[in-house]
Amino acid sequence: MSDFDLDRLGELWRQDPEPAEVERLRRAAARVSRRARMAQLADTIGAIIVSASLVAVTTINHEPRTILIVTAALLLILFTFVRNRKLREAEIRMLSGTTEEMLDQSIERARTTRKRMRFNLVSVPVAIVIYSVLISLGRGTENSILRARLHLSEDMIFVGAIMLVLVAGLLTVGYARTFIRSRIELGWLERLRDAYRRERDESQ
């Protein structure tokens, strides 16, 4: 590459791809669209089946409690559907907008993830402490809160505590990892946005 000629570099860059490469792209795209269509269909069919089952339950059982639970479940399905649709639309707007807008939204999302992870990291040890207090209150006596409420034996409570600590440990590791990664991502996104702003500001 002897000289710097942007037009020549452009021609080099845009060289026609191999027919095999074109075919590979076509197949990859067909696979993606097929999967996306299937996922859409599965979502719709799943929602219809669950809703129909819930309605069927109410026709069999007219109790006010059942009707209340079914109504709540249907509202939850509707809420999830609307929320997912809004999230998808926001994602599309973000991708088809300008890079700076996309970076702003990505930064916002990374900040939310960090806040959520920080909350989870605090709440898991707090939950363990609460559980330990509940176990230790009246332990070994008939007045134990857990024993009285859940009719559990001492052994079951002990195994439950071990399991809980294990799960909490795994969750904490997962949350800590996501927290650290989102901090790295956030730092990178903020630096990139600053770089874009600097480029823009310097030319004004």
Binding site: M1, F4, L6, L9, G10, L12, W13, R14, Q15, D16, P17, E18, E21, V22, L25, R26, A28, A29, A30, R31, V32, S33, A36, R88, E91, I92, M94, L95, S96, G97, T98, T99, E100, M102, L103, S106, R181, S182, I184, E185, W188, L189, L192, A195, Y196, E199, R200, E202, S203, Q204
Partner: protein, 174 residues
């Protein structure tokens, strides 16, 4: 609708398959300028395809379809790179750019030049890389300024910096 479709033309949008047949190589080159590892690039390409598939029904022909696709591909690539900085670095694999050409010497030289250009492009800072890739793709300056939502003088400044950096990188790579 083809890439020469004019903005404002609200004819029926082409099917996803037609769009990929026409703009697939553009998407592939943009993905290539952001991800060197072929396996990860395949993942990025699929993410871009999915984004295009989802966004296509919302295309309102305010700009050309090619501009719309390039913008989605660039934005998806940048958000992909942001996600990648969270992961441990992956060893870069050797990239093979080959062409079935009757003149193997010429082909080898072109492949080598192309590889060098690609590697230099990947080393550019993202704001500069974005603008150079669009210029190399043959977009005119008004389209690029509109795509990046920047004033023509801001584009000129960014482009001149990008050219200078690219030139240095290419000379260093020689």
């Amino acid at each position: 609708m083809t890439s020469d479709a004019k903005p404002g033309n609200r004819r029926a949008v082409a099917s996803f398959e037609q769009v990929i047949a026409e703009h697939g190589p553009l998407i592939s080159r943009i993905a290539m300028s952001y991800e060197a590892d072929p396996a990860l690039r395949e993942d990025l390409m699929q993410q871009i395809f999915l984004a295009v598939w989802q966004a296509l029904p919302r295309f309102r022909a305010d700009s050309s379809l090619r501009t719309f696709i390039a913008r989605i591909a660039q934005n998806r690539s940048i958000s992909y790179v942001a996600k990648q900085v969270r992961q441990p670095p992956v060893a870069e694999l050797d990239e093979r750019i080959e062409a079935d050409d009757p003149d193997p010497e010429q082909t080898a030289m072109e492949a080598s030049d192309r590889r060098m250009l690609l590697e230099a492009t990947r080393k550019l800072p993202l704001p500069q890389r974005q603008v150079i890739v669009l210029v190399l793709e043959g977009f005119d300056y008004s389209e690029i300024a509109e795509m990046l939502d920047i004033a023509p003088n801001a584009l000129a400044l960014r482009l001149s910096r990008a050219k200078a950096t690219l030139k240095t990188l290419l000379e260093r790579g020689r």
